[in-house]
Symmetry: C2
Subunit: 429 residues, 2 copies
């Protein structure tokens, strides 16, 4: 029965039953964890040929010995491969170390402290700097901003991507806005894919913003489909070429969820002049990235088609886990009015919204019976979800059995919190 139609007596009776379920779950000594988007062991096995992939041949296609120093922008064949995943030419792609997050930090560190276009353009020369953060979003993006002293303005995420009317209004209102975070395909955590109109408006955004506005286009799940019919993402580069804004967009990606998490290859794409500035900044800190690992990756996955085929094997492992989450939620909460959730066709997350004010309580209830969830608020800047309703579910790492158990427990916690709130609100009404 929908929670809005229940009487206090009905709610109270269901609470009694749920408390028994909850106590039983607590007695099981569960140790379940749905906190982070980590690949499972079986997914990592898909790339286990990586070590040994070179079979003693450490020469790149152009004869470069990848065991020696040099080549700050990455191996040519790695630039071509990862450029193809972002839909950009090799010369607009820089391949780095093991983490795209490190490249994001470097782009922002460069923009804030040294200036993308010379020292005079450093953001820290201005009294304030702000970034637009579609919410719910990715906590590590927010941490990067916070660490560099960039203030964050939340903006709502729709099924089509960020609410572009709101985005444009904020850009018009705040001359100190320096950029926007985007996870354009299978957004973290809602799973939405930005539609073409949104991509086009984002590509045009720098033309109405401050001259040093940048789009941080973290295409982390570019090829991470859960569904063969998953929507494609329009090319922001093509729209940028039309709008003359290529200097204002940095794209990112990594193989952390293609090959090995934290032992793969991160990459970025932007205009040739932006890459030159980034290269100079990276050149202060290192002589070159790990080209041996870049070559291993190109040997394992020589082209975009090979990557797409590889991702089908990931999908086969991930899809059942997402199905378990969605069917568990539907079965336990369908038609109850106790929450809404996304139905992603790719990426690593299901985004759940409880009734307002309940997310932290649900996370605590779950933790108390051994079910770890991403902390409530983590998907918002400064950890502050104004409605306290969003919870990110990450089902990739646990086994299918554990995912099912976790969802069962999660449903009990959601129901309990929702009905207790209803009773409490009735009492104070």
């Amino acid at each position: 029965m929908h929670i809005e139609h229940m009487t206090a007596a009905q709610a109270s009776a269901e609470i009694d039953a749920l408390e028994r379920d909850y106590t039983e779950l607590g007695a099981k000594g569960l140790a379940l964890d749905l906190t982070r988007g980590k690949p499972a062991g079986e997914q990592l096995d898909l790339a286990s040929d990586l070590d040994g992939m070179l079979a003693g041949d450490y020469r790149a296609a152009d004869g470069t010995d990848v065991r020696n120093y040099g080549g700050l922008v990455g191996l040519p064949e790695a630039r071509a491969l990862f450029g193809s995943l972002l839909g950009v030419p090799a010369e607009e792609t820089l391949v780095g170390g093991n983490a795209s997050l490190t490249l994001m930090y470097n782009v922002l560190d460069l923009a804030v402290n040294r200036g993308l276009r010379g020292a005079d353009s450093a953001w820290r020369n201005s009294a304030s700097m702000k970034f637009l953060c579609p919410v719910p979003g990715y906590d590590r993006h927010f941490t990067l901003c916070e660490s560099l002293g960039i203030d964050m303005l939340p903006v709502p995420m729709l099924e089509t991507g960020p609410d572009m009317d709101a985005v444009e209004a904020l850009v018009d209102a705040h001359s100190d806005l320096r950029g926007i975070w985007c996870v354009p395909r299978f957004s973290n955590p809602t799973g939405c894919v930005y539609n073409d109109a949104t991509v086009k408006r984002i590509a045009q955004l720098p033309n109405r913003a401050s001259s040093d506005f940048i789009v941080m286009w973290d295409n982390a799940y570019a090829v991470h489909t859960l569904n063969e019919a998953a929507p494609e993402l329009a090319s922001i580069r093509t729209f940028c070429l039309d709008a003359g804004t290529l200097d204002h967009v940095f794209q990112f990606g990594s193989t952390s969820k293609i090959t090995f998490a934290g032992a793969g290859v991160g990459y970025t794409a932007s205009s040739v002049s932006n890459l030159a500035a980034l290269q100079a900044h990276l050149g202060v800190q290192s002589i070159s990235p790990d080209k041996v690992n870049q070559l291993r990756h190109v040997r394992l996955l020589p082209d975009r088609d090979a990557v797409i085929a590889h991702m089908a094997s990931h999908r086969a492992l991930l899809q059942p886990k997402f199905d378990a989450v969605l069917s568990g939620l539907e079965q336990g909460l369908g038609g109850r009015g106790m929450g809404t959730w996304t139905h992603p066709r790719g990426g690593y997350f299901v985004s759940f919204d409880s009734r307002p004010g309940l997310a932290s309580g649900i996370v605590t209830l779950a933790a108390d019976i051994g079910v770890k969830l991403t902390p409530a608020g983590a998907t918002f800047p400064y950890g502050e979800d104004p409605s306290d309703c969003n919870i990110r579910l990450a089902p990739s790492y646990p086994s299918l059995q554990e995912v099912s158990e976790t969802v069962t427990a999660f449903v009990v916690c959601v129901k309990l919190a929702s009905l207790r709130q209803k009773l409490a609100q009735g009492a104070t009404a």
Copy 2:
């Protein structure tokens, strides 16, 4: 004949002969390069088992699957191994990505912009910040300082390490001194090993300096001996424990010149509380280092003894090249008063000092006949060698034959520049 004892006519006659030699060398179309401390291919071959080293077993000793996220401070066994190379316990060691330079940048970025001991301690809060740079020294250290806005004060390097009387006087005179660069064993480029008294005085330095003074102890050549009788380096950690200054020293090292250059493992060591601050800073930018490559290294070189044995193979390849440089210099310039040079017992460089005012000219003369040398001045902050005399020779990368050819050509350039200067000075005297 010593240059000081030559008549103008003798000098002139020798110049004529040298100019013929120089023209002949130019006609050879040489393409020789002694610019950077890069390992040669045969050295890289010594570690070629690295790729494939894991034979499918991606589990660390504690069962960690190294293919997944986590472990910002590095694998326990990697911390133990690389700690042993620096002479510190595993818990005071952090193992990172492919470059110690990146760790140095992060330590300085943290100290300058965020503060090693909280935001109030950030160096950029003060009007000025300076670093002591023993000269000649390593150009990339100077670039790090310049990039972060740290002013540099040169201080002379002696055979025992930095001139500690000068260092202490500068520390006493400049309250805005924030640290000192040190390459304590087989210094870049002089090859000197800091003696025990110097190490002790450096460990005590933070007690007379500003409270946030740090020692950047880049022990890049800790195990890179060219000579079995090479002097050992005293433990700065032991002296720091006596002086209570462990919080003021960061040690660094990498396997770039042990296994693969730019595809090895970098590490740092400091007090547990400093590592915690560094870990927090690194955690903003990445989820974890490449633990797969760390595990490969531990499997290839399980302990300090294995590393020492491995370095003996490097020594066998490097020693003949250094011998060729030293015998070429001795044969061509011995007793001529046209320059002095170091006789390193380890490391990657021979440091050559010409007569004052000649280094840039010699480098240009050499370049014009196809012999690339490290740019004159590179071993000084801001590229400014006040005496214009220091040239760094890096014989590791070329073949033995090329090293000999290069030294022959170098000697001709040195003689030519020295004798031309003598004539010019005679003419103006």
